[in-house]
Amino acid sequence: MNPDGAFDRASGTCCASDLALTNGYGSVILHTPASLGVHIMKRAGVIGLFVVWCLVMGERNALAYVDPNSGSMLLQIVLGGAAGLALIVELLWRRVLSVFGLHGRDRSRNDHAKG
């Protein structure tokens, strides 16, 4: 079963920025029972984060280095609650900067100070 065709692998580019909003989030509600829809609406925060995160992370790359752990690593942003949200904003900002050929500062250096 695959109730949320939104993120179906068959759709290939599900997380590419142009498809994520139209084909992605909406179909979760359309193709599931009403009760589930209500529940998912409650969880819209999580899904919203996931969609934003897919936007941030950019295009698929077709190199054949299989490392499913990359997905597990990135998912941890979504699972990181409020701190994860801040990180997504940071990643978005970096993307904006990179469009203009600028680089954000490296935050890993003060990571320990933040804990």
């Binding site: 589930l36 529940h39 998912l75 994860g84 990643l91 890993s108 990571d111 933040k114």
Partner: protein
């Protein structure tokens, strides 16, 4: 004699286990030693060791001699307290795997507080002493590098979260799956077995669906995700948040195993209280006489007689094929005694050797031997239920090298009649006289007791040396 490392200890190049005269030792590289010293200096280490939830570990007294045997590349040797019997997640009942998962998260949470993390998150890092989970891989603790994610998250899902969900949400036993896959259940496979209804269950959306999708999405990425996250400021608060959520999900997972005829067998069986009392007294006196260190109760059901044996033995391994019955035993044992290890397993299809060289996880019979074996209300299931010829079964029993308390259930007994109700009785070998003759071949019968109007007979045999 050259030191041979334990066949299961090869992943971590900086900390490898070996055995010497029954001792469990771990060779550490310079990096491994650094991690060990960090762990030893932490405040949670001693607290968990004292609580029995982290294996007691110390520098080996004969470290210098061991290091010279080990040769170059090693900086220290630590010694762990030995676990009485090594068991594997595919032999644990639901409650045990759940307890092991919660212990893992507790240790990870404590480690994160002090700037440490667990390198990996396999369920095989936990063992059970009785019903108490003990974390045994001290080498898994290391310093949390700035900006690092929790690298064990995927493994934690695969070997803890998904098996528990499979049992709790789908009422499907996870043991066969884990036995067939040491890496556990993948997010993709877990996703595939879920129904629409399961989507609203705790933890499914983030840990199964999003996880499966994220893995599929990024499986062929060439991006340096690790560095990208580090630069963006990934920090320990994110891991702590994830760990707290995972803990809440696991605490909500429940499985009672209702519907098994065996979990309620102690109340519903056909024999009387007097029969049970007689049987308990027989087991009691036989265990006293054999004075065993280890008793293996094969077909232990909910552990009624394992408890009797536990009074006179150091340890009891209580094995039964029925998950719900073992789950009930595990729950009942929370209030003691503490020397019974409940495990799920079949005598006629025992845990094999699996993993690298088929030696990473050993067959049950290579992990220990009993001094006394209990086979109560078992023989008819082995012979009539599983088609094992009766002489073969007694021959096999003798190879354990232990004394035996065995119950022969005659064909006049109601339970045997039920087993035979819908099949042809071609079990000509299932005969009391033939059974006794075979038993005599290997054991000296010290006591014999007829119960339940003579339809069941108990024997206490001691191994002829």
């Amino acid at each position: 004699m050259a030191i041979a490392f334990d066949p299961a200890s090869f992943r971590d190049r900086h900390a490898r286990v070996f055995r010497r005269d029954g001792r469990i030792l771990r060779a550490l590289s310079a990096l491994g030693l650094r991690d060990w010293e960090l762990l030893k200096a932490s405040t949670f280490f001693q607290r968990h060791v004292d609580a029995g939830t982290l294996v007691r570990t110390r520098r080996a007294q004969d470290e210098a001699a061991l290091l010279s045997e080990l040769g170059a590349g090693w900086a220290a040797v630590v010694e762990h307290d030995a676990v009485p019997f090594i068991s594997y997640p595919y032999e644990w009942t639901f409650g045990m795997l759940r307890a092991a998962a919660l212990l893992h998260l507790e240790l990870l949470g404590d480690a994160l507080e002090e700037g440490l993390v667990l390198k990996d998150a396999t369920a095989y890092n936990v063992q059970f002493v009785g019903t108490r989970p003990v974390f045994i891989d001290t080498a898994s603790f290391t310093r949390l590098q700035p900006g690092e994610v929790w690298h064990g998250y995927r493994q934690f899902c695969q070997t803890f979260v998904y098996p528990l969900m499979l049992q709790a949400y789908k009422d499907v036993p996870y043991q066969p799956w884990l036995r067939g896959s040491l890496e556990g259940i993948s997010a993709r496979d877990m996703y595939a077995v879920l129904s629409v209804r399961d989507l609203v269950r705790p933890g499914v959306l983030p840990h199964v669906i999003l996880h499966a999708k994220a893995q599929a999405r990024f499986e062929d990425t060439s991006a340096d995700v690790r560095t990208a996250l580090k630069r963006a400021g990934f920090n320990r608060a994110l891991i702590q948040s994830n760990v707290a959520r995972l803990r809440r999900v696991i605490e909500q997972l429940e499985w009672t195993g209702r519907g098994s005829p065996w979990a309620g067998y102690a109340e519903t069986h056909s024999y009387s209280d007097k029969d049970v009392e007689q049987k308990a007294a027989f087991v009691d006196s036989a265990t006293r006489a054999s004075a065993p260190r280890w008793v293996w109760d094969l077909g232990a059901n909910t552990g009624r007689f394992a408890r009797v044996a536990a009074d006179h033995a150091d340890h009891v391994l209580a094995l039964d094929v029925d998950g719900p019955a073992v789950e009930r035993m595990y729950r009942d044992l929370q209030s003691g005694p503490t020397n019974i290890l409940p495990l799920v397993g079949s005598l006629t299809d025992p845990s094999p050797g699996v993993g690298w060289r088929n030696e990473e996880r050993l067959p049950m019979l290579r992990r220990g031997k009993p001094d006394l074996t209990l086979c109560l209300a078992l023989v008819h299931h082995v012979v009539i239920g599983a088609h094992i010829p009766l002489p073969d079964f007694v021959d096999w029993l003798s190879t354990l090298g232990a004394d035996v308390v065995i119950e022969f259930v005659t064909k006049q007994d109601a339970m045997v009649r039920r087993l035979l109700a819908n099949k042809d009785d071609h079990y000509t070998d299932y005969d009391q006289a033939a059974f006794e003759a075979r038993l005599d071949r290997y054991f000296r019968i010290l006591a014999r007791l007829s119960i339940h109007e003579g339809t069941r007979v108990l024997y206490h045999g001691v191994r002829e040396s």
